[in-house]
Assembly symmetry: C2
Homo-oligomer: 301 residues x 2
Amino acid sequence: MGGREDGDRLTELQLPAAPGARDGEEAGRRGGASQRPQGSPFQPDLASPRRGPTSNSWGSHWAAVVRGSRERTFLAGRGDLPKCEMQAGKPILYSYFRSSCSWRVRIALALKGIDYEIIPINLIKDGGQQFSKEFQAVNPMKQVPALKIDGVTIGQSLAIIEYLEETRPTPPLLPQDPKKRASVRMISDLIASGIQPLQNLSVLKQVEEENQLPVAQKAIISGFDALEQILQSTAGKYCVGDQVSMADLCLAPQVANAERFKVDLAPYPIISRINKALLALEAFQVSHPRRQPDTPAELRA
Amino acid sequence: MGGREDGDRLTELQLPAAPGARDGEEAGRRGGASQRPQGSPFQPDLASPRRGPTSNSWGSHWAAVVRGSRERTFLAGRGDLPKCEMQAGKPILYSYFRSSCSWRVRIALALKGIDYEIIPINLIKDGGQQFSKEFQAVNPMKQVPALKIDGVTIGQSLAIIEYLEETRPTPPLLPQDPKKRASVRMISDLIASGIQPLQNLSVLKQVEEENQLPVAQKAIISGFDALEQILQSTAGKYCVGDQVSMADLCLAPQVANAERFKVDLAPYPIISRINKALLALEAFQVSHPRRQPDTPAELRA
C-alpha cells in the first residue's frame, strides 16, 4: 500500500526540532525564511514534477521515497540524485507530519495504493518553511499539502483527493449515488471549511494566548455537535454507509486535532466509534502523523 | 433564469432591520433565538422538501417563490399556503442576502436555470435566525446556505454545487479535463476554506473590535496574493479558461467581501478583470446580494 512507513528505519533521518504543542495544522499565510529550492512555477498544465531534491544538507533537506507497498528509502538531498533512485515521475507530496490536511491526502494515497515521494515542509522551523520563496513557487498558497502529479501541482487537500478519485478511481472514495456523494462532500466541507480553518494556527495567533485553547475547542465542539447529528442519518460503519469515503479522510485527522486540543469526545459517540474503526485500517495507520518521516522521535509511535 | 429577482416588487416585504456593516458572511456556530418552524430532520435520504412556510407573521416569516426565469411572487408565511402557490417540489434555498456562500449557490441555480424558492435566514436578527431550533433541524451546521432538493437537504455551498453539477449537468460548472477540474476545485477550496472562514463573523468576534477590519483584510489579502498568482496560469476570460466554473462562483462573492472590508484591489488585476466580466453576466446579477428578497431597502441596487 502506498505511503507505508515503517518506523524502524526512520532513525536514519536527522529530524527537525520538536515543534510546540500547537503548531500550524495547515500553513498560515505570512512571509518567512527560505528553505528548499523548488523552482517549478505554479502552472497546473506546465509544471513538471521534480526529479530530485537539490539542496545540500541532511535534516529537513531530503525526500522520503516510498517504494511499493512496504519498502521505502530515505534519500538525503545532496545535489541531484540519480533518476533511478528518485523514481522520476512519481507523485511528490509536500507534507508536514502533523498537518491534518496533509494526513487526509496521505490516507487517500495509501488507500489507492499510489506510490509517492514525500518532501516534508516544516511549518515551524525557520519561521515556517512554507513561507520560503522556493515553496511559494510550488504552492502560492504557502500551505501543505501540495501534490505534484501527472505534470501538475495541486493544492488544497479536497481538490487533490477529488483529482485522485477521478484519475485513480479504485478503490472509490466517493459513493456512486449522487445524494450519498453529496453527504460525503458536505461532511468533508463541514470539516475542511467549517472546523479546521477556525482552529488553525493562523486564527489562533490572532487571539490572546490564554484564549487560544478555548477558541480552538469552541470551533471543534460546535462543528462536532453538527457532525454528530448529521452522522446519525448518514453513518454506517463509516461516515457515509459502510465504505470508507473522503469524509472519513477528513474525520480521523480532525479527531486527532480534537484530542490535541483536549476536547472531550464523550458527547460524540458516533464520531468516536467511526474514528476507532478508521484507525484500525492500515491506510490510516501508515499515514498517521506519528509515523511520518518528519515525525520527531519523541512523538513516534 | 432561476433566481431572477426584480427589485420593484420587493417593497411588498416588511424588511428586516439593516444589519451592521460587518455581519456574518456565513453563519457562526452559537445557539440563539428561535424563528421559523422547520420540522424536517436532517436526514439526507429521508427529508422531504417543505410544502410551505407555517409561521404566522409578515417580515422575515415568508418565502420568496421564484417562478420561471423572470417572474416571482413573495408569499407571506400565514399558515399553510396552497400547494399550487408554493409549487411543491421545487428546491428550497435557505439563504441570506449578504452571505457570500449563499450567493455562490444562487449563481449556480441561476446558471443552470433551476427554479427554486428562497427562505431567508437573517443571520443578524433575533441573535441570528440560523441558531433557532427550527433551523437547526434543517441544517445542524446552523449555516446558510442549505438546499432542499430531490428529497434531501444539503449543506455546504460547494457540496451543493457539486450535487447540482452531477444531477443537472447543463451548463457545466466543471470542465471535462481532470486537471482543469482540479484547478477549479483548488481555487474554489482556496476561497471556501482558505479565505472566507478567516474573515467570517465567527472569527472576527474573537478578536478585539479595533482589530476586526485588519484581521479580515489580512486574510483576504493573503488569499488574493496566492489567487492572483494561480490565475496567471489558469485564467482565460474566467478563472479557469473561458468557461464559467465553480471557481468563478466563489470568486465574485469573495471580491464583494473584499470590497466590503475595504481591501485595495489594485494589486489584483486578474481577479479584478474576471470579477468585472462575471458581474456582467445575468446569473451573477440576479443572484446579487443587492437584489435579494431579503436585501434591506437601503442596500438595494
